[in-house]
Symmetry: C2
Subunit: 357 residues, 2 copies
Amino acid sequence: MGEKLGTSCIAVDAMGSDLGPGEIIAGVCRALRESKSGVKIIAVGDESQINDHLRQNGFYRDSRIEICHASQVIEMHEKPIQAMRAKKDSSMMKAIDLAKSGAADAVLSCGNTGALMAAGTIKLRTMPGIERPALGAIIPSDRRNFILIDVGANPDPRPVNMRDNAILGANYARIAGIADAPKVGLLSNGTEDGKGNILTQNAHILMSNSLERGMYAGLIEGFQVFQGDCDVIICDGFTGNILLKTLEGITKMLKGMLKEELTRNYLRKFGALLAMGAFKGIKNRIPVEKFSGAPLLGLNKLIVKGHGSSNSAQVAGALGIAIKCVRRRLNDCISADLERIRLAENKAEETQDDKKE
Amino acid sequence: MGEKLGTSCIAVDAMGSDLGPGEIIAGVCRALRESKSGVKIIAVGDESQINDHLRQNGFYRDSRIEICHASQVIEMHEKPIQAMRAKKDSSMMKAIDLAKSGAADAVLSCGNTGALMAAGTIKLRTMPGIERPALGAIIPSDRRNFILIDVGANPDPRPVNMRDNAILGANYARIAGIADAPKVGLLSNGTEDGKGNILTQNAHILMSNSLERGMYAGLIEGFQVFQGDCDVIICDGFTGNILLKTLEGITKMLKGMLKEELTRNYLRKFGALLAMGAFKGIKNRIPVEKFSGAPLLGLNKLIVKGHGSSNSAQVAGALGIAIKCVRRRLNDCISADLERIRLAENKAEETQDDKKE
């Protein structure tokens, strides 16, 4: 399965975001500047606002950008299902509709996560063989970046959902350039026999039996997460969401403390100035902006969720992820893997039946 | 309920640790140097080794230290239940036996966590009204330190266990000096209606109904953990363990990167030297060593688990926690709270019955 031929088309929800359409459109233009040919963007939202921002960025009437007017915006605080029903002409719903109709290959939105996941799942449906979608986030790490999946789509998964997430995550890892042959680990509270909650114990058995041996690295503990042992780390959406947000929280706290302490007096300020390269070095080693989009994997069309407070660089990063996934046919790759597992399971059952006879 | 009168006696497992009895005994001596009168230590382990280390620290034949000889050591990798059965004369088992017999008020061990939790629970039993014990860790934070409970004792709790952990954690927070009137939050993947896994949703309902309104602050998300909103953060032992270990992992990674980058060339080294006060400032603001002991709360006698790789300062810190909890009668405070809840629930039931009549 090679690259997608022809133009990849991404529907972008231009309105849903903490920072407003300006950052979104600036991000789209930035991505187009960096991108090779073969990308089309449908910017969904208030036409005049979008045109204003396109003009400011020098992309007014650019042939690669089409505008789809939407009169409503789903706000961040709105309840997902209610918003979805009440705001059929919102930028988010219309962007998803474009993917549903086939006019777009994927959707990017930095808006209300709950509404995006609910509407995406209901309108686009899960792929054949996948019961529930999952949010996969790329976490930058010094040793090697990794994918944490699920970070919030399914807080109460069944073991089979977690096994499927291994397939979703591994294919995403390949396409995002994390690893050619990704190693998958299952996050637990210990690696000894009998450790883990019941869900994780059962998922571990299923994954040991149905994933390829070279792919599944088994259970890992929290302190291993940043040691570079795995490319894809599986956990339920409840734990994954808490983990992701707490990591963001502690990083922010430490960064804030460092800044405060380094600017407390002139001597420290001067020292920090001399050592400036070190701080830039760290920023380069863990480039948080580059990985700000988390795709909702397992639907018939890809949805990429950008951080609500994404700036233009982050929007461009998230859009880059969407383009890569479409070009490299993420969903076809996932389908092929699922089919392989299904065939292996059927074969195992047949062997079982033969033995019984 | 005031301070405990007379001498508090702590049984210390002198052998179980990554760094050996030297660090443990040095930590005990350090704690005794810092402590006021009224503490007795029973050092459990190989008598001649313990005496050697006491001599080195200037505490040989000190009246405050008694030695209880134990011929065996439970190693870190051993399976809990097997080790417990096979090594009845181990330092850990004998330390717990001393608490069981009433000779000691509490146990401190840096040894095999699984064995300590299993043997502690089986030998010491849970307090009346408590079904399962919980590990409560003090997490240092810039805004305010907080207690995360449970960090691994019970990976599959029932909602009532989590409610009870709020009582355990709040009393521990009071005694550890975190807050006089601790605010308790329940960790979830979102605070909106319908968010959370089923366990957390049910725990939230129970906690809303049975904990005092001023005490229970409701659901909090991962990004709030380090914002200083809560003194006690409740989560299941699976999530808590993963969170704690991953936070340790990311802190270690960031520290390592900073050190590497700051020593990469002479200019940076000189800058770092000038700004040295900043790095010390951060260390003072989040004093990790001070909080290295995590008590296993909810048993009839307190067990404090020190980190396996604790140095003498950390051992002294953990011992300090044990002494504080005994002196300030932690278990009596917990019992009183549980009794209050039980009475309130009975009263609510009676009112319900009256209404029916």
